[in-house]
């Protein structure tokens, strides 16, 4: 079997380490000594925009053996469509997984964008279709559509997007989109549709994923919870006559020894702001609420967040993003990845902070230890 390992390309800067929560890469925090892209040279910015660091991460991840890079999207981040267009020629085989909310784009224009970008990259565009966490963030985007309706819109968007790409002339009259005699030009239509990685934990999301996803993508969760989630997606997809594939987005702290890995986490945890835990509760994202539900009881020490061996739920205290990830020796992290493969996962989006150096480490030390061999899954 073959497993696609993606790496993450930060769209909102990066920290110089996981142990201090300060984004010194990019311009998300004030000018200061030690910041890069842009750095200060003689007190003035050196002209290297953050895109230069993104390009470094993409090239490093490609050289380290990653299949592609996920480019996430939030109100405060750079935009993944723009970044993928800018980086199109920076890598050769490495793919760009663009996170986007379909509701913000016209499905016909999105098909044109993707097809042209396929031509610019020789077919290296991948989608991470997201549907929005809701709450104030959606209104920030100018999106008032309610949670479950957003999945209906996503579903309709993907239907139209595929339709106009593959059929001609294409006409559609729906709830959110209308097209009359649409078509892509031949050269663009000849491109492959990007693979679709679909995120979302709610019932509405799983329904939409069943219809459109090539990969159902979940944040990392405790193994049993992931297994239940995948079973629900399998069941729903089977009813639609489709067979889903599974992907997991997971942060890793892997070191030569387990102790060295936990040392990183402990140091980061001790300098983190405990009030940050409360921020998980904002928004109507079912995924974020789920993450929180896996943590039992009060959290007094970093190991309280280890819900099963090497699976740690405190990453969002150390950097922006999902809560769960893997902490351990190279061999342990590889074993946990093998267990996820045994659950049916055949694609991973890995991430580590700082992304540039950790891409090289994980590519060199962890990926070679992943065997894909079935191992017993802990109950």
């Amino acid at each position: 079997m073959s497993v696609d390992f993606y790496w993450r390309i930060g769209m909102h800067g990066d920290q110089r380490s996981l142990t201090e929560r300060a984004a010194t890469r990019g311009d998300w925090e004030p000018d200061g000594p030690g910041r890069i892209a842009p750095a200060l040279r003689g007190g003035v910015p050196d002209g290297h925009a953050y895109i230069e660091h993104m390009a470094d991460v993409a090239r490093a991840a490609e050289a380290a053996g990653f299949y592609g890079g996920l480019m996430p999207s939030f109100p405060f981040t750079d935009d993944p469509w723009a970044a993928a267009g800018l980086l199109a020629r920076e890598t050769r085989g490495f793919r760009f997984m663009i996170a986007f909310q379909p509701g913000f784009l016209n499905p016909v224009h999105a098909a044109r964008m993707a097809a042209s970008l396929q031509r610019a990259t020789n077919g290296r565009v991948v989608y991470n279709v997201i549907t929005g966490g809701g709450g104030p963030a959606q209104l920030w985007w100018g999106d008032e559509v309610a949670h479950d309706d957003r999945y209906a819109r996503t579903s309709e968007f993907l239907h139209v997007h595929k339709g106009v790409w593959k059929e001609r002339p294409y006409t559609f009259d729906g709830r959110f989109h209308r097209v009359e005699n649409g078509a892509l030009p031949d050269a663009l239509a000849a491109q492959d549709l990007p693979e679709i990685y679909f995120s979302g934990s709610s019932a509405a999301a799983i329904d939409a994923a069943g219809r459109h996803a090539d990969h159902y993508l979940s944040w990392m969760e405790p193994t049993a919870a992931l297994a239940r989630k995948f079973a629900a997606v399998r069941e729903h997809s089977a009813a639609l006559g489709r067979t889903p594939r599974f992907a997991v987005r997971v942060d890793v702290v892997a070191r030569r020894t387990e102790k060295a890995a936990w040392d990183v986490v402990r140091t980061g945890f001790e300098s983190a702001d405990p009030a940050a835990l409360a921020q998980w509760r904002t928004g109507d994202s079912v995924g974020a609420a789920r993450s929180l539900s896996f943590i039992d009881g009060p959290v007094s020490g970093y190991r309280d967040l280890e819900v099963e061996p090497n699976v740690w739920g405190g990453f969002s205290l150390l950097r922006g993003g999902p809560a769960f990830g893997l902490v351990g020796s190279y061999a342990q992290v590889a074993e946990r990845i093998d267990e996820l493969i045994a659950l049916g996962v055949d694609a991973f989006i890995l991430a580590g902070v700082p992304h540039l150096e950790e891409a090289r480490r994980v590519g060199a030390e962890v990926l070679p230890l992943v065997t894909g061999a079935r191992r017993p899954v802990p109950a």
Binding site: W28, L86, R89, N106, V108, L117, R178, N181
Partner: protein, 319 residues
């Protein structure tokens, strides 16, 4: 300041094989946008001010082209042409914020309003006529709103935003230079409110449009531009307009151009024509020229120096 922008071809010539004898090393390394990429590089190297990535439903998609252009050069500006229907104004602004950050403010917007309703409908856009103008007005208002203000709230007929607006570091870059066009009262109203540059066609009454814009937007100096085709005559030319054509020629559509009206002549003749427009207040020239790569070099090596020479003469003459 004179700005010369090259309108890019959106449909590069199909790749041709090398025949039976020559060894072809291109293989998979040579993608379908290679020709386009080389044209972007040529425009940068030749010293043009910018390129326009046109919104052609049958060609390459303009944002993809604009991003590639911005990354391919250090100085070249990229003007992406698009209809407001392509995305929400917040998303269009967000996309543009990243491009402005990466390219140090070299992005422009050419907002295409109206056009053939059937073409728009095929692009998934049912809004036409007066509504299209009103939507364009709201689109630009909201995009500039989230760009410049925080929190930003807007309630219109087409868009609503609550508590929007960019934070650091997305905020604070220049908003993309806005190019609009048209001669109807509604189009002039839109330009008066939102355009940095209002684009005309060759033959439009420059003075009248200048007066209309000044009347609608007193104190806000909307710059004027002209979109035209050009062909720089040169020895050994085996393409371009028929022999004997010189000066104003409106047959460029027969050469595959989008803009039918244009000028044909030696660099000195073309520079004189453009200089005449410049004396009437036109500061931007959006030129279509084919083959684009070779013409980019010809414009940079022949037309721009001639144009600069005339500007210097004008300055010297005024002293």
């Amino acid at each position: 300041m004179t700005e010369v922008i090259l309108r890019l071809p959106t449909r590069p010539a199909p790749a041709r094989g090398l025949g039976a004898v020559a060894t072809d090393v291109r293989g998979d390394l040579y993608g379908p946008l290679e020709e386009a990429f080389q044209t972007w590089r040529a425009a940068e190297i030749a010293g043009l001010d910018g390129v326009l990535a046109p919104d052609d439903p049958d060609g390459e998609e303009p944002w993809t082209v604009a991003a590639g252009v911005l990354r391919a050069g250090r100085h070249l500006r990229a003007v992406a042409e698009f209809p407001p229907s392509f995305a929400t104004p917040v998303y269009a602004a967000k996309l543009s914020a990243t491009l402005q950050r990466a390219a140090h403010g070299r992005l422009g917007w050419k907002v295409a309003v109206g056009g053939d309703p059937a073409v728009r409908a095929a692009q998934g856009d049912p809004v036409t006529g007066e509504d299209a103008l009103r939507r364009a007005h709201e689109f630009l208002t909201v995009a500039k709103g989230v760009w410049h203000e925080r929190p930003y709230t807007f309630e219109g007929d087409f868009y609503r935003v609550l508590g929007g607006g960019f934070g650091h570091p997305l905020a604070g870059r220049p908003f993309p230079t806005v190019y609009l066009s048209g001669t109807t009262p509604g189009e002039l109203d839109l330009s008066a409110a939102h355009a940095d540059v209002h684009l005309l066609r060759l033959g439009d009454d420059v003075g009248a449009v200048r007066a209309e814009l000044d009347r609608r937007a007193p104190g806000r100096a909307v710059r004027l531009g002209v979109e035209l085709s050009v062909s720089v005559r040169h020895v050994g030319q085996d393409d371009g307009p028929p022999e004997g054509v010189a000066g104003r020629w409106d047959g460029f559509a027969s050469l595959g151009h989008t803009v039918p009206e244009g000028l044909v002549g030696t660099p000195a003749e073309l520079a004189a024509e453009l200089d005449a427009l410049r004396r009437r207040g036109v500061t931007t020239f959006v030129v279509e020229a084919r083959p684009a790569l070779a013409e980019a070099y010809r414009l940079g090596e022949h037309l721009l120096p001639a144009l600069a020479g005339l500007a210097e003469e004008a300055v010297a003459g005024a002293r």
